[in-house]
């Protein structure tokens, strides 16, 4: 087990728990009609964003994709701004312009999620380019799925970051499926780290349901990047336990109940809690305190979001250009 302080251990737990509870609330809100568009939850994958973002500051940039709530929350966007955004309110992190797939909060370095699969890989590379050119010591981080790894953006982005030694972390969340297409159908080589290494870059595969494994891999990757030693790909092997998107069947034609149950048993939050309890790193009361606080935060966030006003339609054409 990694050698962290109790505060650090618990901070990781707290972050995962916050993501989980926020999304459970969002899923309910979706059923209630409060979330207007699509809603792809991150339930089951929380350890990845949490382990990576623990090493980042507001100066570091995160770019993400359609399944981005967890990344935004882990990067420091308050739950109430995420919820308000999905509820289409002006208090949302994108002021209601974005919704679930377009979460922007540049103030904390959350540089956006994209409804299009792929671009985040390139944009994180560009953040690395800025950091290197301006010598800021910042890193760019892209979160994306296994499905994105077959897209040309992956090829072009990984190669550019490698040849120019850019400070970039590519975090591939391999949850085995792209919507209902199995990764093993979409490629003959499911060894993502090997594929990344074929560009000449550093790459590592970790158990994406083990927050400490992710934390450690990210620690190395961020150090390497900040030291000017180039990019790293981290493959987090994980699983989404809810449907691809809220409202879709949770099994579909592509996976079995057994598979789903097996992964649920490896839930990143409860297994981590058990591990901390078992090792004595934290006590039940620590968790109780955190869980209560998070639940309160999520409840408040929900109230905040639900009671926030919608944006004023007369502002609809603002901000297309910088001066407007």
């Amino acid at each position: 087990m990694a050698d962290l302080s109790k505060e650090q251990y618990l901070a990781l737990y707290r972050q995962m728990f916050e993501i989980r509870r926020t999304e459970e609330q969002l899923a309910k809100a979706h059923q209630a009609g409060l979330v207007h568009g699509a809603c792809h939850t991150y339930v089951g994958e929380e350890a990845v964003a949490t382990g990576v973002c623990a090493h980042l500051t507001a100066k570091d940039s995160v770019f993400s994709t359609h399944r981005g709530h967890g990344h935004a929350l882990a990067k420091g966007v308050p739950p109430r701004e995420v919820m308000a955004e999905l509820f289409g309110r002006v208090t949302g992190c994108s002021r209601g312009r974005g919704g679930s797939m377009h979460l922007f909060s540049p103030e904390v370095g959350m540089m956006g999620t994209s409804g299009i699969v792929g671009p985040c890989i390139l944009q994180a590379t560009g953040a690395g380019y800025s950091a290197k050119l301006m010598n800021t010591g910042a890193v760019g981080v892209a979160f994306f799925g296994d499905g994105a790894s077959n897209n040309g953006a992956f090829h072009e982005g990984l190669n550019l970051a490698t040849i120019w030694d850019l400070p970039v972390i590519f975090v591939c969340e391999n949850n085995m499926y792209a919507t209902e297409i199995a990764f093993s159908y979409a490629t003959r080589n499911t060894n993502m780290a090997e594929r990344a290494r074929s560009y000449g870059m550093s790459a590592v595969a970790v158990d994406g349901n083990d927050v400490l494994a992710v934390y450690q891999a990210a620690d190395e990757a961020v150090r390497r990047a900040r030291a000017g030693n180039g990019p790293t790909l981290i493959e987090g092997k994980t699983y989404r336990t809810r449907a691809h998107s809220e409202g879709m069947p949770s099994l579909g034609t592509y996976r079995t109940q057994e598979e789903l149950d097996a992964w649920k048993a490896r839930d990143p939050i409860s297994t981590y809690k058990a591990k901390l309890l078992q090792s004595g790193a934290a006590a039940e009361s620590d968790f109780e305190q955190i869980e209560t606080a998070v639940q309160r935060l999520v409840d408040e966030s929900f109230e905040f979001a639900k009671n926030s006003p919608y944006p004023d339609p007369s502002t609809v054409s603002n901000h297309i250009f910088s001066a407007s």
Binding site: G88, R89, S94, A178, I181, P311, P313, V316
Partner: protein
């Protein structure tokens, strides 16, 4: 006559043509066993298997490029792209290859490719799932661009698309998927470049597309009660564009409004207005007007989203303004 939804009618066209022609195959994400994100291929995988219902990785450029090569070598690909926003990643293949291969090869190669999927603003889909982009494909020579407004047209036009040898962008507005219309059991085809006169009238001509037809019809109903009869024209295909039917109508009415959810600048309405002003100038009793969606990325929040799509009240007002000129 039986009623079918827009989606079911289009699916029937595809199913009939696939049964008839073994060289037709479909590619897309989730169009196999799953039957398509929008049920475009439901049931077909069980009939034709994976070679003809081909699930793909997330490689829009890749599968468009692949289908280009396939179309050049004797098969007839159907690209089921889900949202038109996604194929912007394949724009190089579309514009530089798909649209140009017949020309570059002096007509010795054909390009029988149908690209189909959803367009339009609906249901807080936000800016990466709300695009329409048809003016781009009209500006570029080499595409047939089809924008059906109802189930009957969707079937007849898709049949025509699947029989032809040209690349066809077949664009289905999300707001129409579940709308029903009478669709005959007998086979029929609708030719490209033939507008439909949706409603006859003499007071003014309104050209509208896709989901705008319904809104214009509502406005026309209101006006009809006032004794004012509007002529409504649905071009159905924007390339080729049936400008003759529009000119004839303007000859009769003297007034023209084009209603289009999509962007104004360099849009379909601009092209229609320019052609009518050049060729039907003397018929015009008033300036041609356009009513378009607001020229902005599509916002997510419902009140913002509603503010960028022309609504029935705006359509009605635009027609009243036109009549008052």
């Amino acid at each position: 006559m039986r009623e079918l939804t827009y989606t079911a009618a289009a699916r029937e066209a595809l199913a009939e043509e696939m049964a008839r022609d073994p060289s037709i195959f479909v590619v897309g994400e989730g169009i196999g066993q799953r039957g398509g994100n929008f049920n475009t291929t439901t049931g077909l995988y069980d009939l034709y298997g994976p070679m003809r219902l081909r699930d793909t990785p997330i490689v829009e450029r890749g599968f468009i490029g692949m289908c280009t090569g396939a179309a050049m070598t004797g098969t007839r690909p159907v690209v089921d792209f889900m949202f038109v926003d996604f194929i912007l990643d394949g724009m190089g293949e579309l514009i530089n290859q798909v649209a140009k291969i017949q020309y570059m090869s002096s007509g010795r190669l054909k390009m029988p490719m149908v690209l189909r999927g959803s367009i339009g603003i609906s249901g807080a889909s936000a800016t990466h799932h709300s695009g329409s982009y048809y003016p781009l494909f009209v500006n570029i020579p080499g595409f047939r661009v089809v924008v059906p407004s109802n189930a009957y047209d969707a079937k007849g036009l898709l049949k025509t698309a699947l029989r032809g040898d040209d690349p066809v962008m077949f664009l289905e507005h999300k707001a129409l998927f579940n709308q029903k219309a009478s669709v005959p059991e007998e086979e029929y085809f609708i030719p490209f470049g033939k507008a439909a006169i949706v409603r006859e009238g003499t007071a003014a001509t309104v050209v509208a597309l896709a989901s705008m037809i319904r809104k214009v019809n509502e406005a026309a109903d209101t006006l009809a009660k006032e004794g004012v009869n509007i002529e409504i024209i649905d071009p159905r295909t924007v390339a080729p564009l049936d400008i003759e039917t529009i000119l004839q109508s303007v000859h009769k009415t003297g007034r023209l409004l084009i209603v289009d959810e999509n962007f104004g600048p360099c849009g379909i309405g601009a092209e229609i207005a320019a052609q009518v002003t050049a060729r039907g100038f003397d018929d015009l009793d008033a300036p041609i007007q356009r009513l378009n969606g607001v020229h902005t990325p599509t916002p997510y929040s419902p009140p913002l989203e509603a503010a960028v799509v022309p609504n029935s009240a705006q359509v009605l007002q635009a027609i009243r303004d036109l009549l008052a000129e």
